[in-house]
Subunit: 139 residues, 2 copies
C-alpha cells in the first residue's frame, strides 16, 4: 500500500512540474550540436570566398559537403583543435615557391562550443600538400 | 571549307588551353557561396550552444534547418546585414523582465563574404518577440 501511494505521489509531482515549467524554455537537444561552414578563399584575409560547404555532424553527418561522413570523421579526429589538420603534410610533394595565398576557414559550433578557425597557405599546392588527402577541405 | 578549318582551329586552341591550364587552380563556382551556421546559446558569451542549424542558400536552400527555403528568403531580405533581423519586433507582446540571457550567432559565408554576427537577448521571451516569427532562428 505504501508503494502505491508513493507511485501516485511521484506521478502527481511530475504533472505539477510539467504544469509549472517555464513557458519559454525549449528542451535542449539530446546531443551537443556540431555544425560548421568550411570555406576556401583567395588571398590572406578570407574576404573573397571561392567555395564553401555547410556540414552538420550531429546527430548524423549531412550537409552540402560532398562527403559529410568522411569530413565529420576527420573533424572528430581533431577533437575540435583544427590546427591538427596541418599536422600530417605530404612530405614527398614539392610545391612552387610563388605567393598566391589561399585562406581556409571553419566557423560554427563543435560539440556545443563555438569555433572559428582560419589558416593561410602560400599557394594552393601548399594547401593540398598540407591537408594531404584529409576530407575536411576536400570540396 | 574555310568554316571547317576555323572549327578545327578553335577546337585545337581549346585543347591547348586545357593542357596548359594551371594545374592547381580549381574553377570557381558559378554562384557566390552562401552558407551559415545558426546557433542559439545560453548566457551572454555563446560558449554553451544549445541548438545549431547548418544552412546553405546557394545554389538551392538546404541544410539541417527545419525550413531552409524560408530561412534563406529571410536571410536574403537582410542583404547580409543581420542586424535587420531585430528591426521588426512584435510590439504587442509583453515579456517578463528577468535576466536569463540567450545569445544567437550566425557564422559562415554570405554571397562570398565571410560573416559573423552575434546578439544577446535578456531572455527567451524577448528573443521570440524580437524575431517576431522570422524564420532564420526558428529551429
Amino acid at each position: 500500500m505504501r508503494h502505491r501511494i508513493a507511485a501516485v505521489s511521484a506521478a502527481a509531482l511530475l504533472t505539477l512540474a510539467g504544469a509549472t515549467g517555464i513557458a519559454e524554455a525549449k528542451p535542449a537537444s539530446l546531443y551537443a550540436p556540431s555544425a560548421v561552414v568550411l570555406a576556401v578563399a583567395q588571398g590572406e584575409d578570407a574576404t573573397t570566398v571561392v567555395r564553401a560547404s555547410a556540414l552538420s555532424c550531429a546527430p548524423t553527418p549531412q550537409g552540402t559537403h560532398p562527403d559529410p561522413k568522411a569530413a565529420c570523421a576527420a573533424l572528430t579526429a581533431t577533437s575540435g583543435t583544427l590546427e591538427t589538420l596541418l599536422a600530417a603534410p605530404d612530405s614527398d610533394r614539392a610545391c612552387p615557391m610563388h605567393y598566391d595565398p589561399v585562406t581556409v576557414t571553419a566557423d560554427g559550433v563543435w560539440k556545443g562550443k563555438r569555433v572559428s578557425w582560419k589558416h593561410t597557405f602560400s599557394n594552393g599546392c601548399v594547401m593540398a600538400a598540407t591537408f594531404n588527402g584529409n576530407a575536411v577541405f576536400a570540396f
